[in-house]
């Protein structure tokens, strides 16, 4: 009778109450993270809108929004500063900004050095490539911008969208990787081996340095040298700065929301991220399983719907074709929902402690305030308030009726 073997439900976690989270004045930072293409930007914007409508003064830091979504948030130009978004009827305020990583990096340089030195650094070709294309710059600058927004105390809630990287962990790892790189002995050895007087700077290393300069060009090494020299006296090391912003994520009042789609890759990334947050003792609000396809009724399994479609066609009569097609649509939908629930269950059995909220896919792209409102409702609405009564923690009900 049943369509597919129902996956065994895992241990039950409490429902995720994002409404309570974003309206709680103690909550100051919400970071939305996950693999690329899962809807982090839309989730961030929807949460920010809900918070503003609930009376908070909120800023959403987006990284790479879709053009139409950006337009609907008034982000027509990249000016690297928050702009107020007009939300009719909201009791709070919504501000939005799009990260300009180069400009953010430039600002850091300018703020922490003399005008002459800053000019020297900004003009350095190695700095230019570092600030626009180094792997990890975007994550580092997102972290930096978050620190700035938090320090200004102008907003009582900051919602951060994380850069679209292959791995969700990059957001946590890239800033440290980059500061290690800039502070590292290797860069000093390579750029000024005579000055550091390192004994391990063996003949082999000198040979390597010659080859590097042959491969990459001597000019690049000279640029790096000049850059490091200028940086040296500038501010107390990149590492300290990165550590300070990293620590911000551990402070009370910061919450992580992990976003995934019901796909094996995205959920695997979510899994890694959840493990990492727990290892770092960073607070996890829960997992948003975005773009699910819950059916409008669960009374009819996929197999029964397929069978019924045949019966309807055999019985014939007016409307038989349409009704049979409707039953096939339902059968496909049940199969898809079953697969999604199975994947969500796999995640939950590995992470029973993580609260889950499913967000149904919209029929089209979300690109205006109304679309965001719809998504916000799915994110923050009451747990059992769905057309089929299936709790919002699931795609399909736990037991068949």
């Amino acid at each position: 009778m049943t369509a597919a073997r129902a996956p065994r439900p895992g241990p039950v976690a409490g429902p995720m109450d994002l409404d309570a989270l974003i309206t709680d004045p103690e909550t100051r930072i919400v970071v939305c993270c996950g693999a690329g293409g899962v809807g982090k930007t839309t989730t961030s914007a929807a949460l920010a809108l809900a918070a503003a409508e609930a009376g908070r003064t909120v800023v959403v830091l987006t990284i790479d929004p879709a053009r139409r979504l950006a337009q609907s948030l008034g982000l027509v130009e990249l000016d690297n500063e928050p702009r107020r978004v007009d939300v009719p009827g909201a009791s709070g305020e919504l501000h939005a900004m799009m990260l300009d990583m180069k400009r953010t990096f430039d600002d850091v340089v300018v703020a922490h050095s003399t005008p002459e030195r800053a000019e020297q650094i900004l003009a350095n070709p190695f700095y230019q490539s570092l600030s626009s294309s180094f792997a990890g710059t975007q994550e580092y600058m997102a972290m930096e911008k978050l620190g700035q927004l938090r320090a200004s105390d102008r907003w009582d809630l900051i919602i951060v969208d994380t850069p679209p990287s292959r791995s969700a962990l990059d957001f946590l790892d890239a800033p440290n990787r980059m500061s290690r790189f800039l502070d590292g002995t290797m860069i000093r050895l390579l750029t000024a081996p005579s000055r550091t007087g390192f004994k391990i700077a063996s003949a082999g290393f000198m040979f390597f340095s010659r080859i590097i300069s042959k491969i990459l060009g001597g000019q690049l090494l000279r640029d790096i040298s000049a850059f490091v020299a200028a940086l040296d006296t500038m501010f107390g090391g990149f590492r300290e700065r990165a550590t300070a912003t990293y620590e911000l994520l551990r402070r009370p009042g910061t919450w992580f929301v992990v976003v995934a789609t019901p796909e094996p890759d995205a959920l695997r990334e979510a899994s890694y991220f959840v493990d990492r947050l727990s290892a770092e003792e960073m607070p996890l609000a829960g997992l948003v399983v975005n773009r699910t396809h819950p059916p409008a009724t669960t009374a009819l399994s996929a197999t029964r719907a397929e069978g019924a479609a045949e019966e309807v066609l055999e019985a014939g009569g007016p409307g038989a074709d349409l009704a049979a097609a409707a039953l096939r649509v339902h059968a496909e939908r049940m199969l898809l929902a079953t697969r999604e629930q199975h994947l969500a269950d796999r995640f939950t059995s590995a992470h029973p402690e993580v609260a889950v909220r499913t967000v149904p896919a919209a029929a089209g792209d979300v690109h205006d305030l109304d679309g965001l409102r719809g998504m916000a409702e799915a994110l923050t609405g009451a747990d059992g308030d769905t057309p089929t009564g299936t709790p919002r923690t699931r795609v399909l009900p736990a037991r068949r009726r």
């Binding site: 693999a35 690329g36 293409g37 899962v38 879709a66 053009r67 139409r68 190695f126 490539s129 792997a135 679209p164 292959r166 791995s167 790189f181 590292g184 290797m186 860069i187 082999g204 290393f205 390597f208 080859i211 042959k214 491969i215 990459l216 060009g217 000019q219 690049l220 094996p264 890759d265 409008a296 009724t297 009374a299 009819l300 019924a308 019966e311 309807v312 009569g317 007016p318 409307g319 038989a320 074709d321 349409l322 009704a323 049979a324 409707a326 039953l327 096939r328 649509v329 339902h330 496909e332 939908r333 199969l335 898809l336 697969r339 896919a361 029929a363 792209d365 690109h367 057309p387 089929t388």
Partner: protein
């Protein structure tokens, strides 16, 4: 064995994150390996997505067979490890493999690829070029090479970077190597395929990538529309449902005739699902015009409801094979 369907031997597959470019690259490799051909599938981003698709243990930096196809064809896979590739390179030009290992321990190799992100790309494209041009007994070792390349946002830099590197290093082995790589990439032997979904962002990024690649003189292949929903309803019903003109009352009599339980509640729920299905389809169909406007050969792959396994890959491969053959006769 039938003659080569196309002069293209290097297929570069890119697409926005989440569009399924790894799956498409794998299916394309299977399609090209049909009828006894040998194809190399190359992974460039170290995520072991190919191993997962073919359900094999993680791939080492070594060409390993991952699938056989009809007529004795085979797909080999290679996950490029940038450090190993740099050591190969040092070995090839400076006979430095042992010193290289010591440098790796010091973190020097990691460092070198970090200060010059372009170096990473040069090493990868250099390895790809080597596989494309490798010959044994007077004929190419691989009939085709398929690259699961970086996403659209990085693809032009990835493929064009060797040009930048050639300018950085004006002479010597890097220069010679870059020139060789660019010659292959810009030749009719190469096609860059872009994978998209029928959604706003991926279609927009596809248009942007095609414009950039064209400007960089890189040859564009096909646009692959992945995970396209196929309409279940007859066309008139579909249009009406998308407009919200389908009600449960219309479905109820036929459902009652088949003695289905649930009555009006069921009919209304089915009508709601049909309306959503029709709206989603209409939204996707609207974007088809934008994809057509790109004016590239286009192939659609269906959204498969089951889990992605070798059987589903072959199903997608069959569609791609048709497309490749029709592209040739058109």
């Amino acid at each position: 064995m039938s003659p080569d369907p196309s002069p293209v031997r290097l297929h570069v597959v890119t697409g926005k994150g989440g569009t399924g470019k790894t799956t498409v690259a794998a299916a394309l490799a299977l399609a090209l390996a049909a009828d006894g051909r040998t194809v190399l599938l190359v992974e460039t981003e170290g995520r072991q997505g190919i191993a997962q698709l073919f359900d094999t243990p993680p791939l080492p930096y070594e060409e390993r067979r991952v699938a056989v196809t009809r007529g004795g064809g085979e797909v080999k896979a290679l996950a490029i490890d940038v450090e190993e590739a740099l050591l190969d390179y040092l070995d090839m030009f400076y006979n430095l493999r042992r010193a290289g290992r010591a440098l790796r321990k010091m973190g020097a190799v990691d460092f070198a690829t970090a200060i010059a992100p372009g170096l990473r790309d040069v090493l990868i494209t250099g390895k790809v070029k080597e596989a494309v041009t490798r010959r044994h007994d007077g004929r190419p070792v691989y009939d085709a090479v398929v690259v699961d390349a970086p996403p659209t946002g990085r693809i032009t830099r990835f493929l064009g970077v060797t040009g930048e590197m050639a300018q950085l290093a004006r002479s010597g082995p890097i220069k010679t190597q870059s020139d060789g790589v660019m010659a292959v990439l810009r030749s009719p032997q190469t096609a860059v395929h872009v994978v998209t979904l029928l959604e706003d962002m991926p279609v927009q990024e596809t248009a942007d990538a095609i414009a950039e690649l064209t400007k960089a003189g890189l040859p564009i292949g096909s646009v692959v529309v992945n995970m396209a929903a196929e309409p279940v309803l007859p066309a008139d019903g579909l249009a009406r449902a998308a407009d919200g003109g389908l009600t449960g009352a219309e479905l109820a009599p036929a459902l009652a005739a088949a003695h289905l339980p649930g009555g009006d509640g069921l009919a209304d729920a089915l009508a709601a699902e049909v309306t959503e299905h029709a709206r989603r389809w209409a939204g996707q169909d609207g974007l088809r015009a934008e994809v057509e406007a790109l004016d590239r050969p286009t192939v659609e792959l269906p959204l498969l409801t089951g889990p992605m396994d070798l059987g589903s890959l072959f199903e997608l491969a069959a569609r791609l094979e048709d497309h490749l053959q029709n592209g040739e006769t058109a």
